[in-house]
């Protein structure tokens, strides 16, 4: 009887954690005190309007799908770049931004300032919302009135 209770408790805790984890996937978090990244930090050119810096690792189930979503968005929108970096090669960057998991995506505006970040698997809607924060004009071209 005790062992059955243990099984139930273990599965309940795991379910609660799993639900919490799933709810966090791809959540867009606005960053207040924006730190600025430059070309030398990334080893790649920044986008003229916005840049997705995706921190990935070899052991990452959602990195491929996230790269496809962000790469696709970068290809569609002029001035938007997608840079994918391996955390093992960029630990200073990982520490600087307190990255805890892969994929984590930093969203940079035109100046390279980190204005938002995305944790975990990203779907196209979430990527669009993040881009809207970094470069509102990249979504609705020329709509300066907004």
């Amino acid at each position: 009887m005790r062992s059955l209770l243990l099984v139930v408790a273990v599965l309940a805790v795991a379910s609660a954690f799993g639900l919490w984890w799933r709810g966090r996937q791809g959540r867009v978090r606005t960053v207040a005190d924006a730190d600025v990244l430059v070309r030398a930090d990334l080893g790649a050119d920044l986008g003229e309007r916005a840049t997705f810096v995706q921190l990935s690792s070899q052991v990452c189930t959602a990195c491929r799908s996230t790269a496809r979503v962000l790469g696709g968005l970068a290809a569609q929108r002029p001035g938007v770049a997608h840079v994918e970096l391996d955390v093992a090669d960029h630990l200073p960057l990982v520490r600087r931004f307190d990255v805890m998991r892969t994929p984590t995506t930093l969203v940079l505006d035109a100046r390279g300032a980190v204005v938002a970040r995305l944790s975990g698997a990203v779907d196209p809607r979430q990527a669009g919302a993040a881009l809207e924060q970094a470069a509102p004009s990249a979504c609705t071209d020329g709509a300066l009135a907004r």
Partner: protein, 158 residues
């Protein structure tokens, strides 16, 4: 530490190994979870035997990749033929890493159990059950989520 070299060569474009059906590892994790529940319910020497079966599966998964386990074989021979083709393929490295994490947890539990530390068996089985259950139900690879934390700790010591 990466030198702040202005002409940083971009990391070799990953040559991802051939993808695997992502449903395979999740199916396997479900079977493993059932066995781990058995370990918790049985107790005694029977629990050790079942735990040894789980450990053997993790050894295969660590050495040959998750497709090389008995759960993987069962999936590809029995389950996969009845399903539609997967929507997308998955990198085989994360699930293989997860097998290694599972092997460490359950292996330590089995060894301690064999030398008489009986309490280690249910503890190891419960920890591994959390990971296997999360993998099967949510597609969450717990070891993969912890990988970066491990990398950060290791490099701080270095």
């Amino acid at each position: 530490m990466a030198a702040p070299d202005p002409v940083v060569v971009p990391p070799a474009p990953p040559v991802p190994p051939r993808g695997i059906d992502p449903r395979g590892p999740r199916f396997g994790a479900g079977l493993t979870a059932v066995l781990l529940v058995l370990v918790l319910l049985l107790g005694g020497p029977a629990a050790l035997v079942v735990l040894a079966v789980v450990v053997a599966g993790f050894v295969l998964g660590t050495v040959r990749g998750v497709q090389g386990t008995w759960q993987g074989a069962l999936y590809s021979r029995v389950v996969r033929p009845r399903l539609a083709a997967p929507a997308e393929l998955e990198d085989p490295r994360p699930p293989r890493f997860a097998q290694l994490v599972g092997l460490v947890i359950t292996g330590v539990g089995l060894l301690l159990g064999l030398v008489g530390v009986a309490a280690a068996v249910p503890v190891a089985a419960a920890l591994a059950l959390v990971a296997a259950f999360l993998n099967a139900v949510f597609g969450l690879c717990l070891g993969c989520e912890l990988y970066l934390l491990g990398l950060r700790l290791r490099s701080r010591d270095a």
